[in-house]
Symmetry: C2
Subunit: 126 residues, 2 copies
């Protein structure tokens, strides 16, 4: 598999530590921005404010070998594929958010659940 | 970004050429299987038949540098992030399907849209 990922930009959030990050995205959460590198700006053509998008991003510094885990909210141990834990073989996060505005290769959204500076991998219509 | 992907298994579908692949997943489509490598079988603990899952997989042999494209179904050119085209900077596909059964590290599902043997990257509760 020619599986090299490239960062297409960064996600700006208010969170500087994992402890501050919410466990899920929140449509009423604080303003965040998806900031695309200039090489990818043309890829936004045709996206509109009000549209829901699936955002793929990369959780860094996680344990990629832990197949059975205790859920963050408690309860019995479960397999990683039955959880949305960031600790997974391929730590790709997938969240749906609404586009509030688009300007200069930056999308305003709300309530992302990740650290400020998180690598952005992809945006698709949801 | 420590962005190395690992294949966790393969997707078995009836499709041997890209021309045969449907453009979207179809809940009433033909039987397909998500076949996990043995090292990842424990990660399925807690998943149940009837549950909807988000499947992440990898489109190989695509053009990763084409920021503006004509939609497969026609219409005016759009940015790659406004399309679900497999030709994208990080060709990670994301589809929601229902688990029909789970046995020996294999999940029976229906109507995947990819080639037989497509690398499987992740499964999350949808």
């Amino acid at each position: 598999m020619a599986g090299e990922l490239k960062t297409i930009g960064k996600i700006r959030t208010p969170y500087r530590s994992v402890a501050e990050c919410p466990s899920h995205v929140d449509p009423q959460g604080p303003p965040c921005r998806l900031v695309l590198d200039e090489a990818f700006h043309d890829g936004l053509k045709g996206l509109s404010p009000g549209q829901d998008i699936l955002v793929l991003y990369w959780f860094e510094n996680v344990d990629r070998d832990n197949m059975v885990q205790t859920p963050r909210r408690g309860g019995s141990k479960r397999g990683v594929f039955a959880l949305r834990s960031p600790h997974r073989p391929n730590p790709i996060a997938a969240s749906v958010v609404r586009v509030e505005s688009i300007e200069n290769g930056q999308l305003a959204v709300r309530g992302m659940d990740c650290l400020d500076g998180t690598p952005l991998l992809d945006i698709k219509p949801a």
